[in-house]
């Protein structure tokens, strides 16, 4: 099976190619079969490969397969190599299985759309690129996948490109992540020139030898990597693109902007942890950024009226948890949370999609309500997802992963009490906004009638993801979290979660009027607007970066370079006028000139 590792990314790419070339001529069932089927096959291949890895002797080492070498220049030979180890196996499994479920869901969700084959085409491209990113053993190949997911994310955010806002959102996502990507590319260049290799294993081996702990180079390389991760994972200060990215279809949000792509930054840092261990400053920064992001985004999520935007802020917040974990060196906790988050967040998105599908594309939570009886399937799926998100103790996967992070933040030598406190407050806020959504959407009085019924292709992925959101916490990775000294911490986390849920019940169901009055008061309204608008980052960037830049380009358009360029043009013009005298249009003169010149040259050759 290890020999066929290349099949895992190749299958979605094959699907992409087939759909890109012939998709517009295929019947829709065939498009759906190819689009979802290739990813399904890829999932099977991933499962087989992971089983083979688990059963093999060198499970710790992982399997590496070099397919071919890009170029070979002076000892620098970036290779197309795939690597399957515990980390990439988890990522691969999540990407392919969740991806398959979401694509299955999409076959029904997108059924009425004219860009049906284009959608599956881009989704397959995304899955292929993501798998390339995950399986890459070489940072250059990883970067290729990195840009590939960026591209397909751009294409899918702007999927409904006829509305200008969607296109603008796509462009924003592309440009903002580009800031991070540039940092990443610079980091790659730094590593390649300093260490002479981009193979991840070799980088991990050489970095400690070449650079001392805390040395400037290591800090610079790690900081640049972190920059890339921040952009892709929508962390402070590059988080502004993700809420707008909800302009894309809901399955896109579920797959790309919740489950997989936004966690690429987490994966990158976990992959390069050897490098980050050499830069404690960057580790600290990662933790602080994670903590700040999770609090800030959580408060934003609390005030959103758009269901998908609320989920987007929730995603930023949850990825903030992962960064917090990474920042204190809890790699496996971060990846564990990534996995459970992929399950419950895509479940939430898909359930939200199922709701809005039945409400003719409605996304505003304040226009929903009382859907509990009308949409029982979506309701239960959403409740399970929200429970997992808010880490309902003992029964949900989210509890185990979040509890593990909080425990590590407390106990890790790099951790600190105040980081733990931030995480705990975050957990409270998380539970609050998660069940705020539940109560707003499914309880209270009914505002709109539903229409139609969701089919099996929608309900099965919901059921499967719900099962994973509950059972995903019992994977072998969670072993060892139950230690005696951690009991108080566990109790605290459980308490925070339960308190949040109860608060949500009180504020948004029982005493909803009071909450609305509170929000309506001048101070409350101001705060609410501030939070809902994403803490004013968009405005700040616009004022600090975009507008000065536009002014600068306007100013430089006519001033600086012109005298030089115009001077060149004027000189050329003058010479042209001089030479154009010889252009008489008379063939004989030209021939005469050529002949005279030739004769002169021959004469010089003969007589000199």
């Amino acid at each position: 099976m290890a020999e066929l590792l290349w099949l895992i990314p190749a299958l979605p790419f094959a699907g992409f190619l087939a759909l890109a070339l012939l998709g517009s001529r295929m019947p829709r069932p065939l498009v759906a079969t190819i689009g979802a089927g290739t990813v399904g096959l890829s999932a099977l291949a991933a499962i087989a490969a992971s089983l083979a890895l688990a059963g093999s002797a060198g499970a710790e080492e992982g399997i590496t397969r070099t397919l071919w070498t890009w170029i070979s220049v002076g000892g620098f030979a970036p290779a197309v190599a795939l690597r399957l180890d515990a980390l990439s196996a988890v990522m691969t499994l999540v990407v392919t299985i969740v991806g398959f479920l979401i694509l299955l869901y999409s076959t029904e969700f997108m059924a009425g759309d004219e860009g049906y084959s284009r959608f599956f085409c881009c989704m397959d491209l995304f899955v292929g690129a993501m798998l390339t990113l995950v399986l890459a053993d070489d940072l250059l190949l990883l970067y290729l996948g990195w840009e590939g997911v960026g591209l397909s994310s751009y294409l899918l955010i702007g999927f409904w490109y006829k509305a200008e806002a969607n296109v603008r959102a796509a462009r924003k996502a592309f440009i903002v992540t580009r800031v991070g990507d540039t940092a990443f590319a610079l980091g790659l260049a730094l590593i390649a020139t300093q260490l002479g290799t981009l193979r991840i294993q070799e980088v991990a081996e050489r970095a400690p030898l070449f650079w001392g702990a805390g040395s400037g180079m290591a800090v610079a390389a790690a900081a640049l990597m972190l920059g890339g991760a921040l952009g892709k994972s929508a962390q402070l200060p590059l988080q502004t693109w993700l809420p707008d990215a909800m302009a894309g279809p809901t399955p896109v949000s579920a797959l790309i902007h919740a489950a997989t792509m936004v966690t690429a930054g987490v994966y990158l840092i976990a992959r390069m942890h050897a490098l980050f261990l050499l830069a404690p400053v960057v580790m600290g920064a990662t933790a602080v950024i994670g903590a700040a992001t999770l609090l800030m985004a959580g408060l934003s999520a609390l005030t959103q009226s758009d269901l998908k935007r609320a989920l987007a802020y929730s995603t930023i917040s949850q990825v903030g948890y992962m960064f917090l974990a990474l920042g204190v060196g809890a790699w496996s906790a971060a990846i564990f949370h990534f996995m459970t988050h992929a399950f419950f967040k895509s479940l939430l998105f898909l359930a939200a999609g199922a709701v809005s599908m039945r409400l003719r594309g409605e996304h505003d939570m304040f226009r929903m309500g009382g859907l509990r009886r009308a949409l029982p399937g979506a309701f239960w799926a959403f409740v399970i997802g929200a429970a997992s998100l808010s880490a309902l103790p003992m029964v949900t996967a989210g509890f185990y992963s979040k509890e593990m992070i909080l425990e590590r933040v407390w106990s890790s030598p790099r951790g600190a009490g105040w980081l733990w406190a931030a995480g705990l407050i975050g957990a409270l806020i998380t539970a609050l906004y998660a069940f705020r959504m539940v109560f707003l959407v499914f309880f209270g009085e009914k505002r709109q009638e539903t229409e139609g019924r969701s089919g099996a292709r929608v309900m099965f992925p919901l059921a499967a993801l719900a099962a994973l959101s509950i059972g995903g916490g019992f994977v072998p990775m969670s072993r060892g979290t139950w230690e005696a000294h951690a009991l108080p911490l566990t109790l605290a986390a459980s308490l925070a979660s339960l308190l949040g849920i109860a608060g949500a019940w009180f504020l948004f169901h029982r005493r909803r009027g009071m909450t609305e009055r509170l929000a309506g008061s001048p101070a409350g309204a101001l705060l609410r607007r501030f939070w809902a608008g994403g803490w004013g980052f968009d405005q700040a960037y616009d004022a600090l970066l975009v507008r000065p830049f536009v002014r600068l380009t306007r100013a430089s358009r006519e001033e600086f370079a012109d005298p030089y360029s115009k001077g060149v043009a004027r000189t050329a013009g003058a010479l042209h006028h001089l030479l154009s005298r010889t252009v008489t249009g008379q063939l004989r003169w030209y021939a005469m000139a050529i002949a005279a010149g030739t004769i002169l040259l021959i004469g010089m050759a003969v007589f000199l």
Binding site: M592, A595, A596, I599, I602, G603, V606
Partner: protein
Amino acid sequence: METVFDISAVVAVVATLMVIAQSRAVHALLYLTVSLLAVAVVFFTLGAPFVAALEVIIYAGAIMVLFVFVIMMLNLGAEAARQERRWLTPADWFGPAILGAILLAEMVWVLASPQSAFPAPAANDPRAVGAALFGPYVLVADLAALVLLAGLVGAYHFGRRSAEAGEGEAP
């Protein structure tokens, strides 16, 4: 053989001079054909009968006939010849003649400079030429075929355009 060479060389030079001095295109063409035939004889005396035959078949027999054809199509009459005579003023031909004379002088000067003794030239039978053409020169032969194709396409294109223009002008 040397006598034959000398005679045909003189014929060639005189005929060629007549070509550029003629005012009637057809007469010039006839002189040019004579010149080519004389050069063919020169080839023969140089021991290259194959090339001599080709000179007659292709140069004199095909390329020059094309000229005849075009002149017939243009149907230039006596008026054209008179105009040609008007164009051929001494001022017009004096400069070029000087240039040509200088060129000739230079080349003869080079030829007259002392050279090593010559071996007797060996005759090249067509077989050797063919072997060389399709042996070491096969790529160039293919290129020549391409050039011919390009010429064919080009001639067809220009000819057709003129036909279309003629149709357009007719009404």
